[in-house]
Amino acid sequence: MVFLTIANLIRCRGPDEFWRKRKIFRLAAHYIGRRRNCYSVAVRNVHHALVYATKARRLKKQDMKDLWDTRISAACEQHNITAFSMREGLERSNILLDRKSLSDLAAWEPKTFQCLAAVASRKLHLDGFIDGTDQKAPTGKNLNLDNVILDDWLKEKK
Protein backbone atom coordinates (compact mmCIF):
# COMPACT_ATOMS: atom_id res chain seq x y z
CA MET A 1 0.00 0.00 0.00
CA VAL A 2 1.44 3.34 -0.96
CA PHE A 3 0.22 6.58 0.55
CA LEU A 4 0.87 9.49 -1.72
CA THR A 5 -0.74 12.14 0.41
CA ILE A 6 -0.61 12.87 4.11
CA ALA A 7 -4.40 12.88 4.31
CA ASN A 8 -4.45 9.17 3.63
CA LEU A 9 -1.75 8.53 6.16
CA ILE A 10 -3.85 10.03 8.96
CA ARG A 11 -6.77 7.77 8.13
CA CYS A 12 -4.59 4.68 8.46
CA ARG A 13 -5.80 2.68 11.49
CA GLY A 14 -2.49 1.18 12.51
CA PRO A 15 -1.98 -2.52 13.24
CA ASP A 16 -4.55 -5.16 12.62
CA GLU A 17 -7.52 -5.22 14.97
CA PHE A 18 -6.49 -8.60 16.42
CA TRP A 19 -3.02 -7.45 17.46
CA ARG A 20 -4.29 -4.10 18.72
CA LYS A 21 -6.79 -5.84 20.96
CA ARG A 22 -4.40 -8.57 22.04
CA LYS A 23 -2.02 -5.99 23.45
CA ILE A 24 -4.80 -4.85 25.81
CA PHE A 25 -6.12 -8.34 26.56
CA ARG A 26 -2.66 -9.47 27.61
CA LEU A 27 -2.47 -6.73 30.20
CA ALA A 28 -6.01 -7.60 31.33
CA ALA A 29 -5.31 -11.31 31.59
CA HIS A 30 -5.45 -11.42 35.36
CA TYR A 31 -8.71 -9.47 35.69
CA ILE A 32 -12.04 -11.08 36.52
CA GLY A 33 -15.27 -11.27 34.50
CA ARG A 34 -16.10 -8.87 31.69
CA ARG A 35 -13.06 -6.80 32.55
CA ARG A 36 -10.90 -9.46 30.93
CA ASN A 37 -13.17 -10.77 28.20
CA CYS A 38 -14.86 -7.72 26.72
CA TYR A 39 -12.56 -5.32 24.86
CA SER A 40 -14.43 -2.08 25.46
CA VAL A 41 -14.44 -2.70 29.22
CA ALA A 42 -10.93 -4.13 29.30
CA VAL A 43 -9.30 -1.18 27.55
CA ARG A 44 -10.83 1.25 30.01
CA ASN A 45 -9.56 -0.70 32.99
CA VAL A 46 -6.11 -1.25 31.55
CA HIS A 47 -5.70 2.46 30.92
CA HIS A 48 -6.76 3.23 34.47
CA ALA A 49 -4.36 0.65 35.84
CA LEU A 50 -1.42 2.06 33.87
CA VAL A 51 -2.19 5.58 35.04
CA TYR A 52 -2.35 4.40 38.65
CA ALA A 53 0.94 2.56 38.26
CA THR A 54 2.61 5.69 36.92
CA LYS A 55 1.29 7.90 39.69
CA ALA A 56 1.99 5.33 42.39
CA ARG A 57 5.71 5.45 41.82
CA ARG A 58 5.73 8.94 43.30
CA LEU A 59 3.11 8.11 45.93
CA LYS A 60 5.19 5.20 47.18
CA LYS A 61 8.02 7.55 48.06
CA GLN A 62 5.62 9.84 49.94
CA ASP A 63 4.08 6.89 51.77
CA MET A 64 7.48 5.63 52.84
CA LYS A 65 8.31 9.06 54.18
CA ASP A 66 5.09 9.09 56.19
CA LEU A 67 5.82 5.64 57.54
CA TRP A 68 9.33 6.64 58.60
CA ASP A 69 7.98 9.75 60.29
CA THR A 70 5.45 7.67 62.19
CA ARG A 71 8.10 5.27 63.36
CA ILE A 72 10.46 8.03 64.42
CA SER A 73 7.81 9.96 66.35
CA ALA A 74 6.64 6.77 68.06
CA ALA A 75 10.17 5.94 69.13
CA CYS A 76 10.76 9.51 70.28
CA GLU A 77 7.62 9.37 72.39
CA GLN A 78 9.14 6.51 74.34
CA HIS A 79 11.98 8.77 75.39
CA ASN A 80 9.84 11.85 76.11
CA ILE A 81 11.25 13.89 73.28
CA THR A 82 9.28 15.15 70.33
CA ALA A 83 10.31 14.17 66.84
CA PHE A 84 10.81 17.84 66.06
CA SER A 85 13.27 18.45 68.88
CA MET A 86 15.02 15.15 68.13
CA ARG A 87 15.64 16.39 64.61
CA GLU A 88 16.74 19.80 65.82
CA GLY A 89 19.10 18.34 68.42
CA LEU A 90 20.75 15.95 66.01
CA GLU A 91 21.10 18.69 63.43
CA ARG A 92 22.74 20.97 65.99
CA SER A 93 25.16 18.30 67.13
CA ASN A 94 26.04 17.64 63.50
CA ILE A 95 24.71 14.09 63.27
CA LEU A 96 23.28 13.85 59.81
CA LEU A 97 21.15 10.72 59.76
CA ASP A 98 18.14 10.86 57.52
CA ARG A 99 14.58 9.68 58.12
CA LYS A 100 15.21 6.31 56.59
CA SER A 101 18.13 5.37 58.77
CA LEU A 102 16.65 6.91 61.91
CA SER A 103 13.45 4.91 61.53
CA ASP A 104 15.53 1.84 60.80
CA LEU A 105 17.39 2.36 64.06
CA ALA A 106 14.15 3.05 65.88
CA ALA A 107 12.68 -0.22 64.72
CA TRP A 108 15.65 -2.56 64.85
CA GLU A 109 18.31 -0.95 67.03
CA PRO A 110 16.38 0.72 69.84
CA LYS A 111 19.45 1.08 72.09
CA THR A 112 21.32 3.06 69.47
CA PHE A 113 18.24 5.17 68.96
CA GLN A 114 18.11 5.83 72.68
CA CYS A 115 21.70 7.13 72.57
CA LEU A 116 20.79 9.46 69.76
CA ALA A 117 17.74 10.72 71.65
CA ALA A 118 19.88 11.34 74.74
CA VAL A 119 22.53 13.18 72.73
CA ALA A 120 19.87 15.30 71.04
CA SER A 121 18.10 16.28 74.22
CA ARG A 122 21.40 16.98 76.00
CA LYS A 123 22.46 19.22 73.15
CA LEU A 124 19.18 21.13 73.25
CA HIS A 125 19.49 21.47 77.00
CA LEU A 126 23.00 22.93 76.66
CA ASP A 127 21.89 25.26 73.89
CA GLY A 128 18.96 26.47 75.94
CA PHE A 129 16.56 25.47 73.21
CA ILE A 130 12.90 25.43 74.22
CA ASP A 131 10.65 23.05 72.37
CA GLY A 132 7.45 24.91 71.59
CA THR A 133 5.58 21.76 70.69
CA ASP A 134 3.05 21.13 73.42
CA GLN A 135 3.49 17.71 74.91
CA LYS A 136 0.54 17.46 77.25
CA ALA A 137 0.76 13.97 78.63
CA PRO A 138 4.23 12.55 78.15
CA THR A 139 3.93 8.79 78.28
CA GLY A 140 7.54 7.75 77.85
CA LYS A 141 10.42 7.47 80.25
CA ASN A 142 12.65 10.44 80.88
CA LEU A 143 16.18 9.87 79.67
CA ASN A 144 18.88 9.98 82.27
CA LEU A 145 20.94 12.80 80.89
CA ASP A 146 23.69 12.44 83.50
CA ASN A 147 24.86 9.50 81.44
CA VAL A 148 25.73 11.70 78.50
CA ILE A 149 29.37 12.45 79.12
CA LEU A 150 29.87 14.46 76.01
CA ASP A 151 29.62 17.96 77.33
CA ASP A 152 32.97 18.96 75.87
CA TRP A 153 32.03 18.64 72.28
CA LEU A 154 28.36 19.32 72.66
CA LYS A 155 29.32 22.76 73.94
CA GLU A 156 31.34 23.43 70.81
CA LYS A 157 29.79 25.76 68.36
CA LYS A 158 29.16 24.33 64.94
Partner: protein, 174 residues
Protein backbone atom coordinates in the same frame (compact mmCIF):
# COMPACT_ATOMS: atom_id res chain seq x y z
CA UNK B 1 33.81 12.25 67.93
CA UNK B 2 33.74 8.64 68.92
CA UNK B 3 32.72 9.30 72.42
CA UNK B 4 29.36 10.26 71.07
CA UNK B 5 28.19 6.71 71.07
CA UNK B 6 29.57 5.68 74.35
CA UNK B 7 27.01 7.10 76.68
CA UNK B 8 25.06 3.91 76.28
CA UNK B 9 27.83 2.06 77.97
CA UNK B 10 27.86 4.70 80.62
CA UNK B 11 24.23 3.98 81.25
CA UNK B 12 25.10 0.34 81.67
CA UNK B 13 27.63 1.33 84.30
CA UNK B 14 25.14 3.37 86.23
CA UNK B 15 22.16 1.10 86.06
CA UNK B 16 24.08 -1.93 87.23
CA UNK B 17 21.52 -4.00 85.44
CA UNK B 18 22.80 -4.01 81.89
CA UNK B 19 24.47 -6.72 79.93
CA UNK B 20 27.88 -5.57 80.96
CA UNK B 21 27.18 -5.44 84.64
CA UNK B 22 28.79 -8.81 85.09
CA UNK B 23 32.07 -7.48 83.81
CA UNK B 24 31.99 -4.27 85.63
CA UNK B 25 30.62 -4.83 89.10
CA UNK B 26 34.11 -5.51 90.44
CA UNK B 27 35.13 -2.05 89.37
CA UNK B 28 33.89 0.85 91.37
CA UNK B 29 30.40 1.95 90.38
CA UNK B 30 30.67 4.97 88.16
CA UNK B 31 28.22 7.15 89.99
CA UNK B 32 30.71 8.78 92.31
CA UNK B 33 33.60 8.86 89.90
CA UNK B 34 34.66 12.01 88.13
CA UNK B 35 33.56 12.19 84.53
CA UNK B 36 37.05 11.76 83.09
CA UNK B 37 37.44 8.38 84.78
CA UNK B 38 34.07 7.18 83.58
CA UNK B 39 34.98 8.14 80.05
CA UNK B 40 38.22 6.19 80.29
CA UNK B 41 36.42 3.15 81.67
CA UNK B 42 33.88 3.25 78.90
CA UNK B 43 36.55 3.52 76.26
CA UNK B 44 38.62 0.65 77.62
CA UNK B 45 35.54 -1.55 77.83
CA UNK B 46 34.65 -0.65 74.26
CA UNK B 47 38.14 -1.40 73.03
CA UNK B 48 38.00 -4.75 74.75
CA UNK B 49 34.71 -5.50 73.04
CA UNK B 50 36.17 -4.50 69.70
CA UNK B 51 39.14 -6.80 70.14
CA UNK B 52 36.97 -9.73 71.16
CA UNK B 53 34.82 -9.34 68.06
CA UNK B 54 32.13 -11.29 69.78
CA UNK B 55 29.20 -9.76 67.94
CA UNK B 56 28.36 -8.76 64.44
CA UNK B 57 28.75 -5.10 63.60
CA UNK B 58 26.46 -2.98 61.53
CA UNK B 59 27.05 0.41 59.99
CA UNK B 60 25.07 3.15 58.37
CA UNK B 61 26.81 4.23 55.20
CA UNK B 62 26.18 7.00 52.77
CA UNK B 63 26.13 5.83 49.17
CA UNK B 64 24.98 7.82 46.16
CA UNK B 65 22.87 10.21 48.21
CA UNK B 66 21.15 7.52 50.21
CA UNK B 67 21.85 6.07 53.60
CA UNK B 68 21.88 2.34 54.08
CA UNK B 69 22.07 0.25 57.21
CA UNK B 70 24.38 -2.61 56.30
CA UNK B 71 25.83 -5.64 57.98
CA UNK B 72 27.94 -8.61 56.85
CA UNK B 73 26.57 -10.37 53.80
CA UNK B 74 23.95 -7.81 52.84
CA UNK B 75 22.87 -7.18 49.27
CA UNK B 76 22.33 -3.61 48.13
CA UNK B 77 20.66 -2.57 44.92
CA UNK B 78 21.94 0.78 43.75
CA UNK B 79 19.92 2.47 41.07
CA UNK B 80 21.20 4.91 38.48
CA UNK B 81 24.48 5.43 36.69
CA UNK B 82 27.47 4.29 38.75
CA UNK B 83 30.91 3.61 37.23
CA UNK B 84 32.25 0.53 39.14
CA UNK B 85 32.27 -2.74 37.21
CA UNK B 86 31.46 -6.32 38.08
CA UNK B 87 34.02 -7.90 40.39
CA UNK B 88 35.36 -4.61 41.72
CA UNK B 89 36.09 -4.59 45.41
CA UNK B 90 35.42 -1.27 47.01
CA UNK B 91 35.43 0.16 50.48
CA UNK B 92 32.53 2.34 51.47
CA UNK B 93 34.17 5.16 53.37
CA UNK B 94 31.32 7.40 54.37
CA UNK B 95 30.32 5.71 57.59
CA UNK B 96 27.81 7.75 59.56
CA UNK B 97 27.33 5.29 62.37
CA UNK B 98 28.78 1.95 63.35
CA UNK B 99 27.58 -0.24 66.13
CA UNK B 100 27.66 -3.67 67.65
CA UNK B 101 25.55 -5.33 70.29
CA UNK B 102 26.91 -3.39 73.23
CA UNK B 103 28.15 -0.08 71.90
CA UNK B 104 27.58 2.36 69.09
CA UNK B 105 29.95 4.82 67.46
CA UNK B 106 28.21 7.89 66.16
CA UNK B 107 29.94 10.16 63.68
CA UNK B 108 29.64 13.89 63.45
CA UNK B 109 28.73 13.50 60.61
CA UNK B 110 31.24 10.75 59.71
CA UNK B 111 33.22 8.54 62.05
CA UNK B 112 36.95 9.06 61.92
CA UNK B 113 38.45 7.73 58.67
CA UNK B 114 40.10 4.33 58.98
CA UNK B 115 38.25 3.34 62.11
CA UNK B 116 35.47 1.43 60.44
CA UNK B 117 35.95 -0.30 57.11
CA UNK B 118 33.03 -1.53 55.09
CA UNK B 119 34.14 -3.59 52.11
CA UNK B 120 31.87 -4.56 49.27
CA UNK B 121 32.03 -6.45 45.99
CA UNK B 122 30.03 -5.59 42.92
CA UNK B 123 28.08 -8.65 41.90
CA UNK B 124 26.06 -7.63 38.91
CA UNK B 125 25.14 -4.74 36.74
CA UNK B 126 22.00 -4.64 34.71
CA UNK B 127 18.72 -2.97 34.08
CA UNK B 128 15.62 -2.83 36.19
CA UNK B 129 12.26 -4.17 35.04
CA UNK B 130 10.45 -2.03 32.49
CA UNK B 131 8.46 0.75 34.02
CA UNK B 132 5.55 2.01 31.99
CA UNK B 133 5.02 5.72 32.00
CA UNK B 134 1.44 6.19 30.82
CA UNK B 135 -0.52 9.43 30.70
CA UNK B 136 -4.07 9.90 29.56
CA UNK B 137 -6.51 12.78 29.65
CA UNK B 138 -10.21 12.10 29.41
CA UNK B 139 -12.16 13.49 26.45
CA UNK B 140 -9.08 15.34 25.17
CA UNK B 141 -7.66 12.74 22.78
CA UNK B 142 -4.41 12.80 24.74
CA UNK B 143 -2.53 9.62 25.43
CA UNK B 144 1.22 9.07 25.82
CA UNK B 145 3.09 5.93 26.63
CA UNK B 146 6.80 5.61 27.36
CA UNK B 147 8.93 2.83 28.71
CA UNK B 148 11.91 3.28 30.97
CA UNK B 149 14.53 1.11 32.55
CA UNK B 150 17.03 2.21 35.16
CA UNK B 151 20.56 0.93 35.53
CA UNK B 152 20.98 -1.23 38.58
CA UNK B 153 24.12 -2.33 40.38
CA UNK B 154 24.02 -5.04 42.99
CA UNK B 155 26.55 -4.93 45.81
CA UNK B 156 27.43 -7.59 48.30
CA UNK B 157 28.71 -6.26 51.62
CA UNK B 158 31.67 -8.49 52.53
CA UNK B 159 32.29 -7.29 56.02
CA UNK B 160 31.78 -4.44 58.39
CA UNK B 161 34.88 -4.24 60.49
CA UNK B 162 35.94 -1.95 63.30
CA UNK B 163 39.69 -1.79 62.77
CA UNK B 164 41.36 0.44 65.29
CA UNK B 165 40.87 1.08 68.91
CA UNK B 166 38.70 3.98 69.83
CA UNK B 167 40.49 7.23 70.58
CA UNK B 168 43.69 6.11 68.85
CA UNK B 169 45.23 8.81 66.72
CA UNK B 170 43.73 8.53 63.24
CA UNK B 171 46.01 6.74 60.82
CA UNK B 172 46.41 8.55 57.57
CA UNK B 173 44.54 6.22 55.26
CA UNK B 174 44.03 8.46 52.29
Amino acid sequence: MIRAGLQRLASVFNNQGGILSRLITQNAPAQHQPIADTTKDVITTCNKLIEEKSHRNFAIIHLLGKQWRVTDGDLLVVEGYWPPNIGDKITLDKVLLAASKDFSLIGRPLVQPGLVTVTATIISKGLSHTRTHFKKKRRKQFMRINFQKAQQTILRINNVDIKNNINDAPKNVF
